[in-house]
Symmetry: C2
Subunit: 125 residues, 2 copies
């Protein structure tokens, strides 16, 4: 980076106001080979795992639950969870929940499960 250019602050609330659809992550930042993605979730996602990477969920607003085969984890605003690589999990939210996801650039939302809820070409916002 040129010493003259400076990076821009990213306001998560302002970015979240730019979209309304559920289960469609939007990229807001890149750190090395990781993306920071905002996503709004409501209802139940598919069971899946990411065989090659951990994945971080940070709840920005609302509450959600992540089901694992061994039990469920409740997450509320200001809480984060590291989903270990290879762990089957299913994100769920009774009401809309707004999340920051942090994971490698190549990570696919449905992991090893694939299917119709897979989102390939993520949008930067």
């Amino acid at each position: 980076m040129s010493q003259e250019s400076i990076p821009a602050a990213i306001n998560l609330g302002e970015k979240l106001a730019l979209f309304s659809e559920h289960w469609s992550p939007k990229i807001v930042a890149k750190m090395n080979d990781y993306y920071f993605k905002l996503v709004k979730v409501e209802g139940e996602f598919v069971w899946h795992s990411h065989p090659d990477t951990d994945e971080v969920f940070l709840v920005v607003q609302g509450e959600m639950r992540i089901d694992f085969r061994g039990g469920a984890v409740e997450l509320k605003q200001g809480e984060l969870l590291v989903v270990p690589r290879g762990a089957d999990h299913r994100p769920c939210a009774e009401r809309e929940c707004q999340i920051l996801l942090i994971e490698p650039v190549e990570t696919i939302n449905t992991g090893d499960a694939g299917g119709e809820r897979t989102v390939i070409d993520l949008e930067w916002i």
Copy 2:
């Protein structure tokens, strides 16, 4: 991971309540080879850069400023900034500000500058 074990939610506010010292990052989570660290800052840190990695600041509470050679970036609660690898920067806060840092495990707080404010053995909380 065993399918029977489940990861624990990490409440950032509760973790922040566990310490009071400034400029002493505490590890709260690990994702692959990255740490998530909480730090409370107040006053002016040293100019430094991280030649090998980007670094993310996410303000959990308060406000801060990150000075770059080309200008300053103001950050408030709910805002994040990616400090590009190699960019000289100096974090500052007029009043206490609470931050989540995300960076590779081997990243040192003072980067290439070293000196007495370097913290080597980070504590997990």
